[in-house]
């Protein structure tokens, strides 16, 4: 049985196309995907991301515990956040996540909705003798995100916090529309924006306040379809599409969140270190369609009649008006400009390896 987020009735009232996603009934789009996408690029959009999972890790051993579990360095200042991968011993990816250090001994892990149960089992099984208390707050926590160049101006109408003092990948605990919230300058769109983590019971009040104050900025509710095209345009990976247990963060070009240079020990390190020394046989690259056609997840890539890779995400990019994607190609073919062909229903169309982000005018990246 699919769950409803605390904002389900708002989505119904807005006439959203609602579909099951990761066990939740989620708004896929309210009207036009392209308009929702462009609203975030040009103004501001609001997202219900309450399906995301939230684990709280508290205790004297919290930092040490997370450093042993995550590929990125957990020793950030309190008030700061970081993106990380979480790996299996074979370097395959359990999940990718954002972690907020709320205080010295208090972290908030935000994981993909589709992975909540798996991640919970994984995280709790590694607690061992660490002095930590881990709680799954996913059901009690709602997430309302506002994203776009107008996001800060809108947020300033909803909170008295000094938003200028919240850097990218930083957060404060304060109030939004009178409700207790973690106010974070994070997102998944390539634009400036804030994510408000609130109590599930407060979510409707926060959503309504955002929609009301947002009228002056032409705010648009944005569904998961545009969330996906927004992240793809800036080359962010999506778990289940671009990364999973069969891919390593080094193959996925997430080496910047894999800390091998320090003496930090973490699950997957030995295999990742070997991969770093030997190189991997394939790499995730950006792909731009040069002909007519749209590449999709599963589209096969060829060079000179030989299969050399596969597309893992693909779509029309609304702000660029061209089709783009991400995919794995053989080592040696990952240089920007490399000419490949995509097999679209038996037709070969030219694609080229491209740098990401595809969309370079974003306010954050």
């Amino acid at each position: 049985m699919d769950k409803e987020t605390p904002l389900y009735s708002r989505h119904v009232a807005l006439g959203a196309h609602i579909e099951p996603f990761a066990g939740y009934l989620m708004p896929i789009r309210y009207g036009s995907v392209i308009e929702e996408h462009l609203a975030v690029r040009r103004g501001v959009g609001v997202f219900d991301l309450s399906h995301m999972g939230e684990f709280r890790v508290r205790g004297k051993g919290a930092r040490e515990f997370l450093d042993g579990l995550l590929t990125n360095n957990a020793d950030v200042e309190p008030g700061k956040a970081f993106y990380s991968a979480m790996c299996y011993p074979d370097a395959g990816i359990v999940d990718d996540l954002i972690v907020y250090r709320l205080a010295d001994d208090d972290y908030l892990m935000v994981v993909n909705a589709s992975n909540i149960d798996k991640d919970w089992a994984w995280v709790t099984s590694h607690a061992g003798t660490c002095d930590v208390r881990i709680t799954n707050e996913s059901d009690e926590t709602a997430l309302v995100a506002i994203q776009g160049p107008k996001a800060q101006e809108l947020a300033s109408r909803l909170t008295t916090e000094n938003l200028d003092a919240i850097a990218y990948y930083a957060q404060v605990q304060g109030k939004v529309a009178g409700c207790g919230a973690v106010i974070a300058r994070t997102g998944y769109t390539g634009e400036d924006g804030f994510e408000f983590y609130v109590q599930a019971a407060d979510a409707p009040a926060v959503w309504d306040a955002v929609m009301k104050a947002g009228q002056d900025f032409g705010i648009v509710p944005v569904g998961l379809a545009a969330r996906d095209t927004l992240r793809l345009e800036v080359g962010y990976v999506l778990y289940g599409n671009d990364i999973d247990h069969s891919t390593s963060p080094l193959e996925a070009k997430l080496g910047w969140v894999v800390k091998l240079a320090t003496d930090k020990d973490f699950v997957g390190r030995d295999v990742l270190r070997r991969q770093k020394e030997d190189g991997t046989s394939r790499l995730l690259v950006g792909l731009k369609v040069e002909g007519k056609g749209i590449i999709r997840h599963g589209t096969e890539l060829y060079q000179g009649g030989r299969r050399v890779g596969v597309v893992t995400s693909g779509s029309m990019a609304p702000a660029l008006n061209t089709a783009v994607g991400l995919g794995y190609v053989e080592k040696g073919l990952s240089k920007a400009g490399t000419a490949l062909e995509a097999d679209i229903r038996g037709r070969r169309i030219p694609v080229s390896v491209s740098k990401t982000p595809f969309y370079t005018a974003g306010t954050r990246r």
């Binding site: 196309h17 995907v33 379809a225 749209i294 029309m316 229903r345």
Partner: protein, 128 residues
Amino acid sequence: MSSIPGDLKYTKSHEWVRRGADGTLTMGITDHAQELMGEIVMVELPPQGGDLRAGDSTGVLEAVKTAEDFFAPVDGKVAEANAALESDPGLVNRDCYGEGWLIRIRPADASQFDALLTPAQYGEIAGE
């Protein structure tokens, strides 16, 4: 509620079919189908003169996030494909029963048209 014109025939796979005075059939996708798909950003149509078999995939509509086949409603040949969709695929959304038609068909057997769904039968499938 999506519109289901009373003077057309329909398929289970959400195509509409109109018979012209010259016996050719024009087809497109229904209002219900275009609403479900959202903005059509690319259309792949069969070549003129190509053979069609009822129920076979005969072209593809690409929305931003998804691609959907459309299917020949009857046996026959492609008399014409809607060239206007090449530069303006959004016609399928804006005028699915008019300017957004997909192909014109020279049917092999005129009786197949009569056996297609009535507007009332299609309305049940479209859930209205």
